[in-house]
């Protein structure tokens, strides 16, 4: 997928003045977090489960090679095939080769962020194969030719009218004057259209939330059942996923499943949880004739053992996005690549380079909300700070910030000089703002004063007043 992460600031600025996006984000601002909160309050062992989930993922990552090979053995034993892909290109080509061998003309797709990461749809289209997204939100944004803005709710950035417009523009074979304003009508129409696509598809592609080493199964959670139709009807089911999704056992997957929907949508469990083990067996009534798992690395193994290792625990629940005041202010597209919000701010520089995505880990107030809601306790702010350290050490920091900070540190290391300078500043700014108690404009802090006043200092520093009091008492 193309990236605009290096234009994060410009993207964010545009997002902030987009009235439709504002409406969509303001509507969504409280929904997810209130639902997670309610789910949290209903489950007394939530905190204990977080520790357990973290331990499961830590263990799996510490023995990643073992569990991946075990997973492959079990996939093969159940009649499936694993395709190891070091890069996005290798993963794309693996999927394409299967589709071409089967003479596929259309493929249906369940929602998959890894498929977004490798730019699968564009690649299939370029090779004459039509991919059809079957998650309702993903379907709408495919019609609009835009990427998802949220790892769980791809059309998070849209308001209802935009869905209606997209459907009217795409479904030209349906009567023009049909009512399409109510959510129910939209869902019904989407279903009706997609139903034909499911039946016609030659190959079905899904992602995976978990890979289970002991059984060679892949698992997905959905609320629409589209994943099941995608994978059971066509000739082949291709799971496009990444190496860090593996867990040792079904029990482990169950533990993580207790946290995933609760952290994401506040549901106790998603409407569907689907486990896939191999292709259709002789006595099965339904199922795909072939079962393939494309296992993507794409930079993940290089994160093992680094300060970004913990990021590989992520189960893509989206709680950090849903609770992030920065994400909720600007939406996901501003982040400029597949992953957004706090998890994207850490993961994106790892996958596409900090020189491209360096602004992302800077765009955080370190409020810490993301870490506090993460079901696997990923220290997201800490890792964003590590990215800032790398940028600092590589001289990627802007000259203005660099000079400002260096100057400040020079004074802060010299207490007497610092005392003198702060007293001067307090007196000068205090005098400037004394009449109104505030300053409307400051030449060296226009970023601050563009949208808010600078409260005036009281006119003396605490330290000078304190020293004066001590002298007078003595």
């Amino acid at each position: 997928m193309e990236t605009t992460s290096s234009h994060f600031k410009e993207n964010a600025r545009a997002a902030l003045v987009d009235p439709t996006l504002r409406r969509a984000l303001d509507l969504a601002r409280v929904g997810f977090s209130a639902k997670r909160r309610a789910a949290y309050d209903r489950l007394p062992e939530f905190e204990a489960l977080r520790d357990e989930a973290k331990a499961i993922k830590e263990h799996a990552l510490a023995h990643l090679d073992f569990y991946l090979e075990e997973f492959e053995r079990k996939v093969i034993a159940s009649g499936g095939q694993v395709h190891w892909a070091r890069t996005a290109a290798e993963a794309r080509d693996a999927v394409l080769a299967i589709c071409q061998r089967l003479g596929a003309r259309t493929v249906t797709k369940g929602k998959s962020m890894v498929a977004e990461e490798i730019g699968l749809n564009d690649h299939l289209e370029a090779n004459g194969i039509v991919p059809i997204e079957t998650d309702m939100g993903e379907y709408v944004i495919q019609l609009r030719h835009e990427p998802p803005s949220h790892i769980l709710a791809p059309a998070f950035h849209l308001v209802r009218e935009q869905w209606t417009d997209a459907f009217r523009a795409a479904h030209t074979d349906l009567p023009e004057g049909r009512p399409l304003e109510e959510p129910r009508a939209l869902v019904d129409e989407g279903r009706q259209v997609l139903r034909q696509r499911f039946v016609a598809a030659d190959v079905g592609i899904t992602g995976a939330n978990f890979l289970i080493a002991e059984t060679g199964s892949t698992a997905i959670v959905t609320n629409e059942g589209n994943g099941d139709l995608t994978q059971t009807l066509p000739k082949a089911h291709i799971v496009v996923t990444s190496i860090e999704k593996v867990v040792p056992t079904l029990d482990d997957a169950m533990t993580l499943l207790r946290l995933l929907p609760r952290s994401a949508t506040g549901q106790e469990i998603s409407t569907y949880v689907t486990f896939s083990t191999g292709p259709k067996r002789a006595d099965d009534l339904d199922g795909p004739g072939e079962f393939h798992v494309v296992l993507l690395d794409n930079g993940r193994s290089a994160m093992l053992g680094t300060e970004f290792h913990d990021m590989l625990r992520c189960i893509r629940c989206s709680a950090c996005l849903n609770h992030c005041p920065v994400y909720l202010a600007i939406g996901g597209h501003a982040y400029g690549w597949v992953y957004s919000g706090p998890m994207g701010a850490v993961l994106t520089p790892s996958l596409i380079g900090v020189d491209v995505a360096g602004q992302l880990p800077n765009a955080s107030t370190f409020c810490g909300k993301c870490e506090s809601v993460c079901p696997v306790k990923i220290p997201l702010p800490k890792m964003m700070r590590h990215w800032r350290e790398r940028q600092w050490n590589r001289g990627l920091e802007s000259r203005r910030t660099l000079v400002g900070l260096k100057l400040w540190a020079y004074f802060a290391r010299r207490p007497s000089l610092y005392r003198w300078a702060t007293e001067l500043a307090a007196r000068f700014l205090g005098a400037q703002g004394a009449a109104r108690g505030r300053l409307r404009r400051l030449p060296f802090a226009s970023g601050w004063t563009a949208g808010r006043d600078m409260p005036a200092p009281q006119g003396r520093t605490f330290m000078s007043l304190w020293a004066e009091q001590r002298r007078n008492r003595a």
Binding site: P325, A329, K369, W392, N393, L405, G447, Q458
Partner: protein
Amino acid sequence: MPPVKPRVGLFVTCLVDLFRPTVGFAAVTLLERAGCVVDVPMAQTCCGQPAYNSGDRADTKELARRTIALFESHDYLVAPSGSCAGMIREHYPRLFENDPAMHARAEHLAKRTYELVSFLVDVMGMTSVDASYPGTVTYHDSCSGLRELNVKEQPRRLLRSVAGAKLVELPGAEVCCGFGGTFCIKFPEISVKMTADKCADIAATGADTLLAGDLGCLLNMAGRLSREGSKVQVRHVAEVLAGATDQAAPIAKPA
């Protein structure tokens, strides 16, 4: 249990020092009323957070070393800020993970470092204050204090004992105000959007006074409220708890 008359080193914080000495004096008053002996090491400057959060480890460590040397012999370090106290308590030890001697000193200081109001309640056992404030106040939970130091109930508990003050809860009190240190300068548009949302929540409470425990957040919110022409008065919680509101105009208001 704290010593009978613990010797507290007041970490003034660079923002209180420069912008609002009243908060420093209010902190001294509260600490003395709680039975502490207050000392203010004159060579203190800044905890190093701006450098730390910008990725500049070398300067951060240098400033941390200075702060540790200045405060390690006190019974406690207390700061009228959850952000600076959090830096010293949570992050100083991490800075010296590869330097056992400094790490031990950082840990030693971290263990005795507190944010002002939680120190008064949790360590000194303060349950009420002798102060009055006429008005309806609401309280914003600053992020570092809340999530790093569990400052939540302590300020509310003491505020409920202030004569004449009515405390109303701020919806979204735990949502960041958009300050974020260098964030507000690096990403001003995003920051202002977050602050404007916060100000709308503040207005919706109908409170005439906004309080918080961190001057960075307070300057940010007061600056935006002032730009919006709001009548809401903004103060550091210590000013109200110390009964010192007659000593200075609210933040961003003329004397």
